[in-house]
Symmetry: C2
């Protein structure tokens, strides 16, 4: 049986382009014992995937040249060589960007599309939700009455972080790149305040005005000058979970900026990079809370759903221009 896949055609220097990707037709064998044949339904498109396009040692091995891009996928079982799964089951796993996929049953998890939309298992009920949960709860350790600033606030992780911080009794300020996004954060997701970094006159001053008691937690998705402005307002014993640095992912040289160690020192502040996998042993606990909040309608979510397998490369590129609100998902 033939199907199409999207491979890494070349390692991007700077911003990826459509040339970074290549569509190929391949022939799939029949699923063997313990394998299933899947039809892809939803493909997760995430900023961290940019890092895997570089040939650099990191927490995740780089994508291989001429091999398919791999990410979170929700798929339907269309043929099964495993007792675990039957035709029609919906599953999620880390899978290649292919229209149809042969996969070992071992790495797959069955999902319940009656509880929440299937795509949510890529996001708020999947890695996105867990990333927000552990970054905020385990590193940020929010306490009632504290001030939390979230950059990339209208992105998939940001909107979850803000809502969990509100559930923990914090004051929450979101930074995003359009007035529409700011309105959404305040009106739909309960953020207390928002700053449009593209139109604000003086980010540092604006943070100061919106955070009269200083910043206790800065959940950083973007890095760069936005972070410089927020850091200038951190309180003693502040916590700074580093979840993303999208502002520098496409840099070809090391970015420079103010040295932050003197500030972290005088504030006894903690800065911690993390990936969700650091908390793998606690995923069950995190998922319990997320599911409960979703069920009680205390945790809402939004997605930017792009239709068509052919649109996957462009959806990836759009992440870097803020083309998404909430999770970027491609649906087939």
């Amino acid at each position: 049986m033939k199907t199409r896949q999207i491979v890494l055609a070349s390692r991007p220097k700077g911003t990826p382009t459509t040339e970074t990707f290549r569509f190929e037709e391949i022939t799939l064998p029949e699923p063997k014992d313990g394998e299933v044949l899947l039809k892809g339904l939803y493909y997760s498109v995430d900023p961290y995937m940019r890092g895997r396009m570089n040939d650099a040692k990191s927490y995740a091995p780089p994508f291989e040249l001429d091999k398919p891009i791999v990410g979170g996928v929700v798929a339907e079982v269309i043929a099964s060589g495993s007792e675990q799964f039957q035709n029609g089951d919906l599953v999620t796993g880390r899978l290649p960007w292919q229209e149809q996929i042969i996969a070992s049953a071992k790495g797959l998890k069955k999902i319940d599309a009656s509880f929440a939309p299937a795509s949510y298992y890529l996001s708020i009920l999947g890695m996105t939700g867990l990333t927000a949960y552990f970054g905020l709860i385990s590193i940020g350790k929010p306490k009632e009455g504290e001030t939390v600033v979230v950059s990339g606030a209208a992105g998939a992780v940001g909107i979850v972080v803000g809502q969990i911080a509100k559930l923990k009794g914090c004051r929450v300020i979101g930074i995003a790149g359009s007035d529409e996004k700011i309105s959404m954060l305040k009106d739909e997701f309960g953020f207390d305040e928002g700053i449009n970094y593209k139109t604000v006159d003086d980010m540092k001053k604006s943070i100061g005005e919106l955070c009269p008691d200083g910043v206790d937690i800065y959940f950083d998705n973007v890095g760069g000058e936005i972070s410089d402005a927020v850091l200038s307002h951190i309180n003693f014993q502040a916590r700074i979970p580093l979840c993303g640095q999208i502002s520098v992912y496409n840099n070809t040289e090391v970015a420079t900026g103010p040295r932050i160690q003197p500030l972290l020192l005088t504030k006894s502040a903690l800065m911690k990079g993390f990936i969700v996998g650091d908390f793998e042993s606690e995923f069950g606990e995190g998922m319990k809370h997320l599911s409960q909040w979703v069920k009680e309608d205390k945790l809402k979510f939004t997605e930017t759903i792009v239709e068509g397998f052919d649109q996957l490369p462009q959806a990836m590129l759009d992440l870097f221009t803020g083309g998404n609100t909430g999770k970027m998902v491609v649906k087939i």
Copy 2:
């Protein structure tokens, strides 16, 4: 009764000079109930005191202009209005730079000069030892077989950090500013390797050669380019206690350098500024370990003892040119 004190004459712009300080004669009253009259014996001279000379909000309030400098002092009780202390007792506390001092008995702790030299209560059996202990143990969390790099390694905190790391089974590399200091670290304090940052050709390459398995803990006392070189070799899940940033204390503008957040992110690394006071509730526990190691001769120490109250300002200035090995103490 008349005595002399050293006050902050002006806030230094950049490196302090002898003009930063002023000697004054004052008249002391008799000690009241609950107070004691002290004769200063040893005065602690520490890099962090530079920060208090600025008029900047920090963990410790700034020194006040025209008021005495305050720091760790070991003193002898020469008149007592407190049942807690008798004439001849040796005590330690945070006290003004005065030859004779009236102090409340409350903030003083009696010390035992038969257990260790009196000056050690300012250092290895005092704040210096506790700083090294909690920075390394509570933030660094050393595990057997890990690689620990210490900058400012021949300073008071550095030599203690290196020895505790050895006691925990780590491989320890010290960075210091003279060949004599490097020899001392290796021969007297058991460091595995050392780098003279003043003569090394390529610090980054040198760290790489001496740390073939990467750096698990970087205990940072200095900041700046030395830290850039070490950070380029950190391992996944590395820990970076920030104890000092002596390379930038005298800067008049914010130092710039490579942005480190992308690195901390891809390495899931932790960076944490701290002051010893953050661990106040655990001081007893820390002191128990330090005393035990000193008693068993597992933890050695060295001091640079300068004689004479008049030398206090110069001793402070010498810290910034590496004039000390181990703790800088002024003895009267």
